[in-house]
Subunit: 260 residues, 2 copies
DNA sequence: AAGTGGTCTAGACCACACG
DNA sequence: GTGTGGTCTAGACCACTTC
C-alpha cells in the first residue's frame, strides 16, 4: 500500500505510453501522462518529452498531443515553457472549485421542503440609514431586501441584499411571488465578474432571533458582489447557521474520478 | 447606466462579429461572442450561429472557432448540443474558484511575520482514543499532528491532521524543522483527488485557549481530505478565528477581467 | 542557431439528435 | 435523413528562450 515508490520508481518505459482505447484520443493521452506523473514515473521538476516526441510515442498528431498537455497545464499539473520544454509542477493546485448554488437548490436537492419569506423591502439611498456599498457612489438609489430561506420550516439562510437600481430598474416592480431575488437576478441580468468572501461570525441579537439560534452562535457568511461590464449589480450577504449548513466540494484530476 | 437594454437590444449585426486584433485569434473570437452575450445581442435561450457559419463570419478555420466556443462552454456561458446547435445558457456559473493556499503563504503575502509550532505529535490507532477517520479501516496506524500557525505572534490557524502511515511511512522520521506538514506532504506526495468542506463552529474551551479567543467565538473551519489513487493520504481540519481570517476570490469571464 | 511550444488552416470522418 | 458538434490529421509559420 506504500506510496513511497518514488525512491524505487523507474523512468517511464515505452509501455507507459500505452493508451487504454477508451474515449477520445486526447483524453487517453491526458490520462496516460497524468498516470505516469501520479505513479511517480515523472516526478516534480522532471521534463516531459517534447510534443514532437510524444507525437511519435502516442502515434497521434501534434494538435491532439497539444490539446492533452494544454489541459494538464490548466490543471497546474505541468508547466509549459518554450525551448525549455514541459516540466512537472513541484506543487499541485491551490485553487479549488467550490459550488455555491442558490440555497433553494441545496435544500431541494436534500429532499427537504423549501420556502422563503421576504422580511424587508426598502428603497434606500447609499450612505444613509446605515446602508453603505462602497462600490457605488453615495446618494445612489438602492433596493434593500431581506429574505429568509427555510428548509422544513427551519431557517437555513438569511439573505441581505442591495441592488443597484440604476442598473436594474425593472426590479422595482418585481414582487418575487414565484422566484427568489437571487434567481430572478441571475436569470434577468448577466454578470461579467463576481467577488466572493467567506467568513465566520457570531450571531448578534437580531440575527439570532431571525435564524432561531442562540445569541453568539457561529454562522457561515458568504458575501457576493456581482458586476456587469464594470457596473455593480448587487451585493448580497448570505448568513447560515453553522450547524445547519456547510459547503462541500470534491475535485479529482480528470481521468481519475473513480480512483477513490 | 441602465443595463436593461434587453428590451431594446438589436439582433447581432454583421459588425458585432468584428475582431479587435488583440492576441490569438481564438481569444478574439471568444471575446467577441462573450461580448455579444453580455451586451444582450444574444439572450438566454438564443441559438448561436453554427460553427460553419461562424467560420465564415469570423474568417477563421473551424478548429479555431471550435476552440473558442468550447472554452465558452467550459465557462457554462453556452451549452452545446449536436444537431440542436449552441445555445446561450439561461443561468450562469454556480461553481467558483476559491483559493485555499497554505496558511504560511497567506500570512507572508500580507507582509506579516509567519511562525508555526507543533503542539502535538502522536502515533495513534484509527478508532481508538477518540481519533476516527472513516475512510480508513479501524486499527490502521495514523500520525496525529496538531500545529498552530501564527501571524505576528497571533494564532491564525489551528491545524489538526491525521496522516495515513501506511501510505506515507517516511513522515514518521520527519521533524518539520523547516517546513509545515502541509507543505511537506504537498511536495512529497501527489494526490489525485481532494475533498473540501467549509463550515463555521463555535470555539470550545480547548480551541479557545489555543487560538486565544473567547469561548464560543465563531471560527471558520476548512476540512480537507486528500487521496492518491484511491488511497487516503491525509485529513486535516484547519480552524481559523472568524475575525482574523477570510477567504477571498475574484472571478471574471475571460477577456473581461478589466471590465471592473 | 536551434529547439520548443503557440497557433492556425484545410480537409475529413464520425456520432448523435431532431424532424 | 440531415445538420450540428466532436474529433482527428498533416502541414505550416511564428515567437520565445535557451544554448
Amino acid at each position: 500500500m506504500a506510496l513511497g515508490s518514488k525512491e524505487t520508481s523507474q523512468p517511464p518505459s515505452s509501455d507507459d505510453f500505452a493508451l487504454d482505447g477508451e474515449g477520445p484520443l486526447f483524453r487517453q493521452i491526458e490520462r496516460a501522462i497524468t498516470g505516469m506523473i501520479l505513479r511517480g514515473h515523472y516526478k516534480a521538476g522532471d521534463r516531459l518529452p517534447s510534443e514532437a516526441d510524444l507525437t511519435t510515442k502516442f502515434g497521434a498528431s501534434r494538435q491532439t498531443v497539444n490539446k492533452a498537455i494544454t489541459e494538464l497545464a490548466k490543471q497546474t499539473l505541468v508547466a509549459r515553457n518554450r525551448r525549455a520544454g514541459t516540466v512537472v509542477s513541484a506543487r499541485f493546485q491551490e485553487t479549488f472549485q467550490l459550488p455555491l448554488p442558490d440555497i433553494s437548490e441545496v435544500v431541494l436537492e436534500r429532499g427537504d421542503l423549501y420556502e422563503f419569506r421576504i422580511l424587508k423591502r426598502d428603497r434606500v439611498v447609499n450612505g444613509e440609514s446605515g446602508m453603505t456599498w462602497s462600490a457605488i457612489p453615495k446618494g445612489s438609489a438602492l433596493l434593500y431586501l431581506e429574505v429568509l430561506h427555510l428548509a422544513n420550516d427551519a431557517p437555513v439562510q438569511l439573505e441581505r441584499r442591495l441592488v443597484n437600481l440604476a442598473a436594474v430598474p425593472r426590479i422595482a416592480k418585481e414582487t418575487f411571488n414565484d422566484t427568489t431575488p437571487g434567481k430572478w437576478l441571475l436569470a434577468k441580468i448577466p454578470w461579467s465578474s463576481v467577488r466572493h468572501q467567506l467568513r465566520a461570525t457570531a450571531a448578534d441579537n437580531a440575527l439570532a432571533g431571525i435564524l432561531g439560534v442562540a445569541v453568539g452562535a457561529a454562522c457561515l457568511v458568504v458575501e457576493r458582489q456581482t458586476f456587469h461590464l464594470a457596473v455593480p449589480i448587487t451585493r448580497v450577504q448570505m448568513t447560515h447557521p453553522g450547524d445547519r449548513f456547510q459547503i462541500d466540494s470534491l475535485f479529482a484530476l480528470s481521468g481519475f474520478e473513480n480512483a477513490d
